[in-house]
């Protein structure tokens, strides 16, 4: 009788070839090759135009910067949650709440009058308040599942998902009802926020805003310092790995859960308000119908790719953003070859999916060596 078995052993020596950055970029290359084979078999695209398009994608900063900054911000938010085992799949809803907060303050609160004046300084300061308010709403949105987790022991994942849909519904209700715009030509949508409330485009980098650039730098530095150099960050790490040890060190795991949820939601909310002030300027109806770009969901992949390591969030966001816009660019190549019903989004998903599967396998191989054994 021949039996086949696998011997799985934890690696003792860290191979330099298996260091995390190499694993991430290696998975990207391998994932692309496999995706290429899939696309080549189904649609017959030659390898030069495939990788040529990829090269164009990653070198075209214009198409890449915008998804990159938002994926990086929300990816950071989710990663902070992951550190504390707060599996924030609700970043999408927190992001929408951030948008709601921003449009509320700029259009439907007394602050609106500030933007009709010509006071640039005052308008700038108010913008900061608006952005932070978006963060606060995001934090509040995340705090609800956080509190349910901490005090009622309700698993956060389904609650967070549910909260996404509630956020969509609130947004749609407001957009179709009290906030429906006057200048929308019958469309259901809000009016655009005043010019003076919008963020400032960086000349030469049209897809970036000064304020967004500042935010991404601040958020990245904040998250790094928080997790690597503060007691709170350490508490979050303990919450994520052994909450009993956290408790027996004299800390309240419930409070740390709340703080984790708050921080994670706050950053996702910031991304939402920045998005509204800098890019969208208004709320569309049926916002859950892809009108958010699903950044809140895609960023989960960013957090997964960086796997509880804040240092790799930026590079992961860059990879996911590249694959995402690569998928779109593939449309130009695949024009007429795509089967009906298959859109660019599907191509993006194939690219991202294959890469993440490869990455997951490589991660296992990084930690463990697997030998095939044949016995007779």
């Amino acid at each position: 009788m021949v039996r086949v078995g696998f011997v799985v052993t934890r690696r003792t020596k860290q191979n330099i070839l298996m260091s995390t950055p190499v694993v991430i970029s290696g998975s990207l290359v391998l994932g692309l090759l496999i995706s290429y084979v899939i696309i080549w078999i189904t649609m017959g695209i030659d390898i030069i135009s495939f990788f040529g398009t990829f090269y164009q994608t990653i070198t075209s900063y214009t198409g890449l910067l915008e998804p990159f900054v938002f994926l990086a911000m929300i990816g950071t938010a989710i990663t902070i949650g992951f550190y504390g085992s707060f599996w924030n799949v609700g970043a999408e809803g927190q992001y929408v709440m951030g948008m709601l907060g921003a449009i509320f303050l700029t259009m439907f609160s007394p602050l609106n009058s500030i933007f009709t004046q010509d006071n640039v300084l005052l308008a700038t300061l108010t913008k900061v308040v608006v952005v932070i308010f978006g963060g606060v709403l995001g934090a509040f949105w995340s705090l609800i599942p956080g509190a349910l987790k901490a005090y009622a022991k309700v698993t956060e994942v389904p609650v967070l998902l549910l909260m996404n849909y509630i956020a969509y519904s609130i947004s749609d209700y407001l957009t179709a009802g009290p906030w429906k715009g006057k200048y929308t030509y019958g469309y259901i949508r809000t009016d655009q926020i005043p010019e003076s409330a919008r963020l400032t485009t960086i000349p030469g980098l049209e897809m970036l805003r000064y304020e967004v650039l500042a935010a991404i730098v601040l958020i990245t530095v904040f998250a790094y310092v928080l997790l690597e150099h503060t007691t709170l960050g350490l508490k979050i790490k303990f919450l994520g790995t052994n909450p009993v040890a956290l408790k027996s060190s004299g800390y309240d795991d419930k409070v740390v859960t709340l703080l984790t949820a708050t921080l994670s939601g706050f950053i996702a909310g910031l991304a939402g308000s920045l998005r509204l002030l800098g890019y969208d300027f208004r709320l569309p109806y049926n916002i859950g119908d892809g009108k958010t770009g699903f950044y809140g969901y895609t960023a989960i992949l960013v957090a997964w790719l960086s796997f509880r390591n804040i240092r790799y969030v930026l590079i992961s966001a860059l990879i996911v953003a590249s694959l995402n816009s690569f998928g779109y660019r593939m449309q130009m190549l695949l024009k007429g070859l795509l089967p009906p019903g298959l859109s660019a989004y599907a191509i993006s998903l194939v690219l991202i999916g294959v890469t993440l599967v490869v990455y997951t396998i490589v991660r296992v191989l990084k930690e463990y060596s697997i030998k095939l054994v044949i016995k007779t």
Binding site: G186, P284, K335, L342, S343
Partner: protein, 487 residues
């Protein structure tokens, strides 16, 4: 080990940053792609030097492009038979037709938020004519046209224009009127349903035209015609659309349905009801949907965007249109242009099936009076007569090209003196001719027309034909339309 890892991470990020910066520096020294060729000596203010202080009054001498790269951006998927599908059909026609000098591409399912990124990519890939085919894209397209002054943009259904941003639209209201004539004849209950994507002027216009047609026939047959409108709040929402029809049929009691939604879901649902023994009548929207409901589709509306796309591209190729003169380019094509058609099916030889043969006999058996001439004729013949009346308007076509001449579109006759005296300018018949009574859906500062800004009801005097501006901004329903709100 962690130190080494950090080192690697820093290294990789540095390489990427260096790449991006390098690319940025490199690309900023390369002029953006342009369709405009400026011969030596001439100056063009829109080119590379944005801060040029030398403004010249000499009009630039523009050489038409050898080849054109044109791109389409769709809001929905092209897989369904609706709006985006028909635009893409138009693209495929012109791509083949002009293959010697035209290269095309497209992006589908693009959201408003992503539009600018997609445009950036297209411009970078050398596309210099970009069609954005959704009203939602208006402001962002305008923004993009400012950013890329050498690229020509054409936005479908909007009203914002610049020297390099034109607009175009093919409107269906006349076809909806013809559909309405049939609906008025076929309804048993007098209750007719309409599933609307949004209650924007375009759709209000369609609903009104449909309702006017239904009443013209139904009233004579002793039916109390009422049109019930449900709004979806989305262009593509097959599930919501089916829910709305179910509500209209089961609760309101309608037996005829027309719609503005970009899938064939409603037609399929009606066919399904037919199989279960319940006959309702539907009108296909935008694409040829007959095959999805051969027992329920009476007729419908078809569009041929290729008529407009071909016109635009030929005019670019021949140097008529260029990035400096699109300010007044505003196509408004009706039945007379061939850009829209009555029917729900295209035969293999390219001709259109205007009415489903299954219902022809019934329509031929119902007699009504033509309100223009007073003679009795079958509803089927009335439909054909009105079709021809609206189709024949030879002088209308050039007026429909430019924003400057839209004001002349409701001029029926002009007096040119001499033997001819009365010269026909637009169609002999138009559904939006008074007397008409209506109520304002939007009032006060939310209204678009003067009527509704001042009052809550609208009354159009007998014999008055609504002009381009009234049609374009329509914010009121005729009095027998009932609005049931968003569902």
């Amino acid at each position: 080990m962690p130190k080494q890892e950090t080192l690697y991470a820093v290294l990789i990020i540095l390489v990427i940053v260096a790449g991006v910066v390098g690319y940025f520096v490199g690309s900023s020294s390369v002029p953006p792609p342009t369709t405009v060729t400026v011969p030596a000596g001439a100056t063009l203010t829109q080119t590379v030097t944005r801060v040029s202080t030398v403004t010249t009054t000499v009009a630039p001498y523009i050489i038409p492009p050898e080849k054109i790269k044109a791109a389409w951006i769709y809001v929905g998927p092209i897989g369904d038979l609706g709006w985006s599908y028909m635009h893409d059909l138009g693209r495929r026609v012109v791509e083949k037709l002009f293959s010697s000098w035209l290269e095309t591409t497209y992006y589908e399912s693009v959201s408003e938020a992503e539009l600018l990124s997609r445009i950036d990519e297209l411009v970078r890939a050398g596309y210099s004519v970009i069609f954005t085919t959704s009203f939602e894209f208006m402001e962002k397209t305008y923004e993009a046209s400012k950013k890329y002054p050498n690229v020509m943009f054409f936005h479908c259904s909007g009203y914002m224009r610049r020297e390099n941003l034109g607009t175009y639209f093919a409107d269906l209201y006349q076809v909806y009127y013809l559909n309405g004539l049939m609906a008025g004849a076929l309804t048993k209950t007098g209750k007719i349903g309409y599933v609307a994507a949004f209650t924007i002027p375009e759709v209000i216009r369609h609903i009104n035209a449909f309702a006017i047609g239904a009443k013209e026939v139904g009233e004579q047959l002793g039916k109390n015609i009422e049109v019930y409108v449900v709004e979806l709040g989305a262009w593509v929402a097959p599930d919501k659309a089916v829910d709305a029809v179910r509500y209209l049929v089961d609760v309101v009691g309608v037996d005829v349905v027309a719609f503005t939604e970009d899938t064939s879901a409603i037609v399929e649902y009606a066919q399904d009801l037919y199989r279960k023994g319940k006959q309702i009548y539907v009108f296909g929207h935008y694409g040829p949907m007959y095959e999805y409901g051969p027992d329920v589709v009476v007729s419908g509306q078809l569009v041929r965007w290729e008529v407009i796309y071909a016109d635009i591209l030929i005019k670019i190729k021949s140097g008529v249109l260029n990035p400096t003169n699109l300010n007044n380019v505003d196509y408004w094509y009706l039945l007379n242009s061939g850009a829209v058609e009555l029917g729900a099916h295209v035969f293999e030889n390219g001709s259109v099936m205007m009415v489903n043969p299954k219902f022809v006999a019934e329509l031929k058996g119902i007699y009504v009076r033509d309100k223009l001439t007073g003679e009795m004729l079958s509803v089927y013949d009335l439909v054909l007569r009105r079709y021809e009346q609206m189709k024949y308007a030879a002088l209308l076509l050039p007026l429909q090209f430019s924003a400057l001449t839209h004001g002349l579109e409701n001029v029926t006759y002009i007096d040119i003196g001499g033997k001819e005296k009365k010269y026909l300018v637009s169609a002999i018949f138009d559904p939006f001719t008074g007397p008409l009574d209506g109520w304002c859906l939007y009032t006060g500062e939310k209204a678009f027309t003067e009527y509704c800004k001042k009052a809550t009801t609208v009354s159009i005097a007998a014999g008055k034909r609504l002009g381009h501006h009234d049609l374009w901004n329509m914010d009121w329903f005729v009095s027998w339309v009932k609005y049931l709100g968003t569902r």
